[in-house]
Symmetry: C2
Subunit: 731 residues, 2 copies
């Protein structure tokens, strides 16, 4: 159903990429009758009219992102695309004139341009400081060109193609193989840019480059990009199709994480749509078992309750499915992916649609009330081209979301954060992942580019909620090692009462096995609110120091142990990210259970941890060795175990109660967990007892070596025999 | 109109305080026809029914606020009052039974009670740790008693009065003169509690005590309360009427600030309503030129765009006009204060009403669409019983709100913050006032009571955005001195283009004159966005060190000067609040203009300050010597001038531009002010030149000694003659 009858549209006439002649006719016929489409059209018209009234500005490139020339060229390509669409749909020549006149300005400027004066990129552009942004420009501009193609004279077309589009496409491909001939989101943009303009011009040579890459390049084997990623592996397939095959897992998870997936989805989907219209024989939407549609659904599953993407790897907080890229993605996935009615509910929230066949289909679906809620469930998304390089799991109940990461490295945007987790309550971060150290497009902050603290802090293991051995990051913080390894899922099992995910990591610290198991327990007659159970089992072969941080958000209310505030604040260490933490207070852990109670956004939280008297507790705050205030001054609590081969961290996190600053009522401010104990911890089994305030207990027994669901287990603990089937029992 | 025809209701029958027999009849006749009244009734019914189904709990007092027994007794009095109302309106005996049964439990418990076991208060209660909360109980309980008075048997009434209400009233009055016989919000509650129960019982002896205080008491002249406030001055008038006369200024500003005014308004207004019903001859709503109604409007004027109270003096953030006290206040002020239609728009937002005549009037007004927007303008509220003890001014444009404080001390809840300011943009704090160091009713935090950091930090001058001399708080941080002094308004002048307030403080540092002038300039052809101008003129007689902090909220983006991050963090000082600040970075100020650019909630801000090379810049953060994390880790920037008699701080603060983490567009991220210069600064005049990025300049010339609006001025600056009429010119 998804790819029916597109062949007939494949004519030489334009538009034929995103808008099609048939599609435009259809849209025009329905104008004024489909509310969301009409609203979007009106919004876009206002945008474009406002820009037209300001006049055309095509400045000589100079600035980094955030600066004037960067932002102006960026605005230009977005408006070009919109103006092209308006010309087609509204039949008003002023939009065609505007697009042409701006293109003529670019055709005048482009041939005169040297490399962009900012020298920071491994692949400097001409309009922008990097080829990546130049490619953005061409992806959008191609659509505008398609829209006014027939309206232009042959001479105008030849002028634009010879002086602007073809040199532009050659520059970002032939002239920049280190940018174009890779598997990386940058290359995807490059491939698609060349592919899109190729489709408009019916230029098969360029199209072949777009799909399959440059036949030869001269990329040195050990060349690295700005982020420290290798440019190219040996025997690497390249081009658009390779970029589609490799970074996406069969579940649609993009190995760099959702923030970059969001960014990458636009070129993937817009080019897929264009290919579907011009080259239906490629059956691009069926490629790799319909991975493009799955990818869109995966992306939505990687958002919190408000639609904000989880901050996995390099990711700026606040990015969400309200972004323009996701509007495009949702509409295309709906139209070409079988009209999933759950996608309509996302489109409804987005409250805008693509001004093309896909947006029309979505707006029509919404008009006819076909939308169903997008139900985000507990889910695993595998990583790796074949889905066998670990993955990411999200445990969800109503309000709690626990994100547990045991993926591959995630290319150059990956963080050294094996088996880390973070959690949300009701859309609010409770235990945070730091995200990136960058202020995208904010020029004041290093030109809007990655800051050096992204490497020295954000990527380091200590910046994450996972175990660090001997103050050294996973894989020694080396991309060359990290990129060859991944964690492995041990099990993932969802039931009403207990949702469990478990994974192992054996390579982050050679000789040490990391095994973490996380659960959300929903057992209201035992503990009223669902709570998170976290068992981190570390088995070493030498004597080590282990740190487990919790980057809680909010204000400390109470602890059950004394801590000593430091009179002067010093750093926790001098490298691997430790140099960025100031030690605020120190404590010896209680010889049984640590209780750490805090409040955030008027909700109370408690961390309960089975500690030993030899454990040290460190209260620290980010911000040391940060001479330009590039980092947020956020706090952490670290549980440190020293001088030990093995370590078992057993933690529970409760979200409980609330406070109102208006009524000044405080409700259920304390933990309901009286105690957590390890009854048994062997190579094969770990048994945890949880006791509530009414002295009732539950036991969680877990097989550390057999994840099979059907195996019968029997063990004796304190003279009591326990029998169960499957890898664990909670009772 | 406000007090017509209430005499006829003054019969011996009940209810007669808040509900009246006539009022109840009227309400019953209209049930089901007035949406907001019906909705509130339904909400209250659900609340009370839920509590009734849980059964009655009257535990033996034990806990501080936040703890179980405290919260249970608090819940009880709130539910008692509601259940009484439901009995009257719904005619359902189950509510009367519930109220009676709970009263009987209290009548059983109360005679057995010693002083509350928590010993912290200067006036320990019996049900609660302080008489204040006991008084809360009686204010609400009296209303419930009034509602079921006629339903009870004579024997039941005698039992309750003799074993509960009369001993209760005697305990909080005769037995606690240090609590009852003062001018203080505590005493107001005590007076009203006794007055309310007196009115129910028609006990004139108690009523006289309530209105005029105890005739004799044995309060020592130098006795202080828990907050360090003096209990009583010589020849002090006491009782309800004194408490009404003294802390309210003629403008309705309550000297402790809006947070406590909110708290105090409930007893003031509920007792006023009861007096109006039972003793209309007192004409209480006409008292002091209708100060009670003015006070309610003043309170609303002391809220930000979202209705949250400005944090003046001891004040917890987040308290707002959505609190139950303000619902009561707004309805009573509407009904008895001339039916101001702007109050209806606040009631509409509150979305609930009093279940009595006043709420009925409001709900009816809303049903008839009589509401008009409450327009919060730039305003001055004088302080002091006669309005001549300084005041507080709020400068507003659409989104910016600047609060400038030059009041009297504010009783024991006052802060040492003469001429301090804070500001909001669109309801969000930009330059914050710290508020209090307390987590009200959160037991984990010191029983929910004031924390010692409230004295050592929150009240100190360095915690505020004002000048500190020689690291010493105003009045040496001594209440005995502070309470005898106040600042003085110099001028307050509002025009479309420039809104100006100016005040002087001569007593905070003997020998030093502080004169601060603040303005919002709205001059869009010069600087697109409105901006704040701040001129702080310090004239000393000896050589001093002056600090001016700005407690900005958000993340630093950029400065125009180099600063040096400290490798280890030490405190800025060792007393007067300085011991709570860690120094993060230090700098020499630029020899012309300091530019400090930051972002908060996706809006950019810039502080521009005319500095000299000898000025020091200190980046500091709150949290040193705070061993239990009672303080927020918030940042500040301090401009320090050393070794000088005089100092002139000239600052501009702009809110400009925005950032979207969804579109990743950054708009107008930089200041539009190129330079601020002092052209002239003499005893009589200060002249400031502001230059924008287009090299256009404006001059602000200000007379420091003549606030008169009609005087003609003429001065020569750099050979140019300037002539104007009034205390200042902006051109
Ligand atoms: Ca959220
Ligand atoms: Ca204050
Ligand atoms: Ca607000
Ligand atoms: Mg979020
Ligand atoms: Mg990370
Ligand atoms: Mg606020
Ligand atoms: Mg204060």
């Amino acid at each position: 159903a998804a790819i029916k009858n597109n062949v007939e549209q494949n004519t030489a006439s334009h538009p034929s990429l995103i808008l099609t002649q048939k599609g435009v006719k259809n849209i025009k016929a329905q104008l004024g009758t489909i509310p969301l489409f009409d609203k979007t059209l009106e919004d876009v018209k206002q945008d474009v009219d406002a820009e037209i009234s300001k006049g055309i500005a095509v400045p000589i490139p100079k600035d980094f992102s955030g600066g004037y020339t960067h932002e102006q060229h960026k605005k230009n390509f977005l408006i070009l695309q919109k103006a092209g669409v308006l010309y087609q749909i509204l039949d008003d020549e002023k939009y065609a004139v505007y697009v042409r006149d701006m293109f003529l300005e670019y055709a005048k400027l482009y041939p005169t341009l040297p490399l962009h004066p900012q020298e920071r990129s491994y692949a400097r552009g001409k309009l922008f400081w990097q080829c990546l942004n130049d490619s953005n420009w061409l992806v959008y501009a191609s659509q505008a060109y398609d829209c006014i193609y027939n309206w232009l004279s042959k001479e105008e077309r030849e002028h634009l193609e010879n002086d602007l589009f073809i040199p532009f496409a050659n520059f970002i491909s032939e002239k920049n193989p280190q940018f174009f001939n890779r598997v990386h989101n940058h290359s995807t943009w490059g491939n698609v840019a060349v592919g899109m303009i190729a489709l408009v011009m019916d230029n098969d040579e360029l199209l072949q480059k777009a799909l399959y890459g440059l036949k030869t390049d001269s990329i040195a084997a050990n060349l690295k990009d700005d982020d420290g990623g290798f440019i190219k592996n040996k025997d690497q397939k390249v081009g658009f199709l390779a970029n589609l095959d490799e970074p996406f897992s069969p579940d649609g998870y993009y190995t760099e994480g959702p923030y970059y997936q969001r960014y990458a989805m636009y070129p993937f989907l817009i080019f897929a749509q264009a290919l579907e219209n011009k080259k239906p024989e490629l059956k691009i939407f069926e490629h790799k078992n319909a991975v493009l549609t799955k990818a869109v659904e995966a992306l939505i599953n990687l958002t919190d309750k408000d639609g904000e993407f989880y901050t996995i790897n390099d990711a700026q907080k606040g990015m969400s499915y309200y972004s323009r890229e996701l509007v495009t993605a949702v509409d295309i996935a709906y139209h070409y992916g079988g009209n999933n009615p759950e996608l309509l509910s996302i489109a409804k929230k987005q409250n805008k649609v693509n001004l093309d066949d896909t947006g029309l289909a979505v707006a029509l679906g919404l008009k006819n009330n076909l939308d169903k809620p997008f139900r985000k469930k507990s889910i695993t998304l595998t990583d790796g081209p074949n889905g066998n390089q670990g993955g990411i799991s999200i445990l969800r109940n109503n309000n709690l979301e626990v994100i547990f990461k045991y993926t591959a490295q995630g290319l150059s945007h990956g963080h050294y954060d094996k088996l880390s987790f973070f959690m949300y309550n009701n859309g609010t971060e409770v235990i945070q992942d730091y995200g990136l150290a960058r202020f995208v497009n904010i020029e004041q902050k290093g030109g809007g580019n990655y800051l050096k603290e992204n490497t020295t802090w954000a990527k380091q293991t200590i910046a994450h909620n996972t175990v660090i051995q001997n103050e050294t990051s996973h894989f020694n913080g080396k991309y060359s090692i990290g990129s060859k390894n991944h964690s492995n899922q041990y099990l993932f099992n969802i039931s009403e009462k207990i949702k469990v995910v478990s994974a192992k990591e054996n390579n982050a610290y050679p000789g040490t096995e990391l095994h973490r198991t996380m659960a959300i327990v929903t057992d209201s007659s035992f503990i009223k609110q669902p709570f998170v159970l976290d068992i981190f089992n570390v088995i070493g072969t030498s004597t080590n120091k282990y740190d487990l941080p919790f980057y809680y958000k909010g204000q400390i209310m109470q602890t059950n142990f004394k801590y000593t505030q430091q009179a002067t604040l010093k750093t926790l260490g001098d490298k691997n990210g430790y140099q960025h933490l100031f030690v605020e207070a120190l404590a010896d852990a209680p010889n049984s259970n640590l209780k750490f109670n805090w409040m955030h956004n008027n909700v109370f939280y408690t961390l309960t941890s089975a500690t030993q008297a030899t454990d040290k507790i460190i209260f620290a705050r980010i911000g040391a060795n940060d001479p330009e205030y590039n980092l947020r001054r956020d706090p952490t609590l670290i549980i440190r175990k020293t001088n030990t081969k093995n370590a078992l961290y057993v933690n529970a996190i409760e979200a409980h109660g609330s406070y109102s600053p208006v009524s000044e009522f405080s409700v259920n401010a304390y933990s309901s967990i009286a105690k957590i104990e390890t009854l048994l911890n062997t190579k094969d089994y770990t048994a945890i007892r949880i006791t509530n305030n009414n002295k009732q207990s539950k036991l969680f027994i877990f097989s550390n070596t057999n994840p099979d669901k059907t195996t019968a287990h029997s063990i004796t603990i304190n003279d009591n025999e326990f029998n169960w089937v499957g890898s664990y029992t909670y009772n």
